[in-house]
């Protein structure tokens, strides 16, 4: 029979996470974003919306909205911070491990929150690329 987790570390947040939860960066709606993506759903208890402003393949601004726990809010903050100033290609290479270590680690049970922010970013980039391809297909006027 599987034994349930009892280690405190499974739920304990680092000081970095609490600090970003308290004062998240890049939170809010963006005016005229290049692309906006949403991942997760309210039923599962976490949901994130991320908007990117991209100029010449470079992410010049990133913002997020969160319905979720402290880990969700902190990862939204760190991911948007990490991608700002990066090219789309560079941002796409961002890994879950990098996100987690930028937060000083995440409790094991909260890793899915880091995954959600990561997925939202990937989805936004994917949608941006799709938009570009479609844009290129359009006949020049």
């Amino acid at each position: 029979m599987p034994v349930e987790y009892t280690e405190r570390s499974l739920l304990k947040y680092t000081q970095q996470v609490i600090e970003l939860f308290r004062n998240p960066k890049n939170v809010g709606e963006m005016e005229n974003p290049t692309v906006t993506a949403t991942e997760g759903d309210a039923q599962c208890g976490d949901m994130m919306q991320m908007s990117l402003k991209i100029e010449n393949d470079k992410i010049v601004d990133a913002k997020f909205l969160s319905f979720g726990c402290a880990a969700n809010i902190a990862t939204g903050s760190i991911v948007t911070e990490l991608v700002k100033g990066k090219t789309v290609d560079e941002a796409e290479k961002l890994s879950i491990k990098e996100i987690s270590s930028a937060l000083g680690g995440l409790p094991a049970l909260k890793m899915h929150c880091a995954v959600l922010a990561y997925k939202t970013l990937k989805k936004a980039i994917q949608e941006y690329r799709q938009k570009n391809v479609e844009g290129e297909k359009q006949p020049h006027t």
Binding site: E4, Y5, L10, L11, I18, F21, R22, P24, V27, G28, T38, D41, A42, Q43, C44, G45, D46, M47, M48, Q49, L65, S66, F67, G68, C69, A70, A71, N72, I73, L109, K110, H112, C113
Partner: protein
Amino acid sequence: MKVYLDNGTTTQVAEEVIDAMLPYFTEKFGHPIFVYSLGQEAADAVEKTQEIIAKTINAKPGEIIFTSGATESNDLAIRGIAYANREKGNHIITTRVENPSVLRVCEKLERDGFRIDYLDVDPQGFVNLDQLQNLINEKTILVSVMHVNDEIGTIEPIKEIGKILREQKHKIYFHVNAAASYARVPIDVERMSIDAMSISAHKIHGPKGVGALYLRENTPIEPITYGYISLFKLKPGTENVPAIVGFGKAAELAFDGFEKNVEHMRKLRDKLMAGIEEKIQHVMLHGPRGDKRSPANVNYSFKYVEGESVLLHLDLNGISVATGSACSTRKLEPSHVLTAIGVKPEVAHGAIRFTLSRYNTAEEIEYVLEVLPRVIDNLRKISPIKPGAF
């Protein structure tokens, strides 16, 4: 300002309780089974506590067994009575909204070959008495229903259930988990026809690690742990005498001014509920209103925000509360109680439970009503879910 509103989880130990306990660590440290005076002094203290606790629930002192807490009391009562009555039947009835300390025990009994039926509850958390009537059969040996729901404060119709069981052709034992109701809602084991009942010290300003099982005289029960027998056949091992003494003192304090304490909590409860409903939009109360709700329990969902975030923001402001959100648990599922009363998961994730004690004050509630609307408003501002979404 520090405001502790998680008294349903555990409480601060009253100073009088600590004072009562201290001598039993030092000069009165004897083992209660031994005949020398140090031992007898300890045994007297345990017996005195039996008397104190018995009086608060209209039981006999000999019907009180000390355990490590309500979790152990639930396990001992349910498995002990089930195993002892196996020849008579293998059917047990409980509810979907019990504490895990009952549900996990029932699941263990299912693995041992018992059949368990779980009563449904209505949207306010009340069990269905007709369903209970219909489920009872000649194999039914035990019914276990909580007195007060620890999450949403519903006071279950224990007396009515006791009556239904009393009217059956064969004896069906009735166990009640009263951990959330003891010292908050009146209990009378005779009037309520209760055969076994679990209570805990740390929920009433006593120490952690001690509780009691009330067990009606002549109730067939098997021990679930075996070993060295001191004062209680059903609970092997040396009694935690200082904690038992502390439990007694805590019960004395709680029941000395029972009506006054309850009225105090009820006033604070109603003040908090009125304030939340006046100051915050898009909220949903869980559990009933009025006399059928525990005087110590307030539970609301704040829609479009997630409970753990609310809990941590309140914590950063010095306020301790509990949440029904999945994210705060190890299982990542919303509260089984909120699910059972039909709350949608997206709403259950925003549930916050405030539980009161006699030590809380009106000023504390006012402070919470100042901080909470701001916290909810800020979290709604950063939420991708807009009002009206659900």
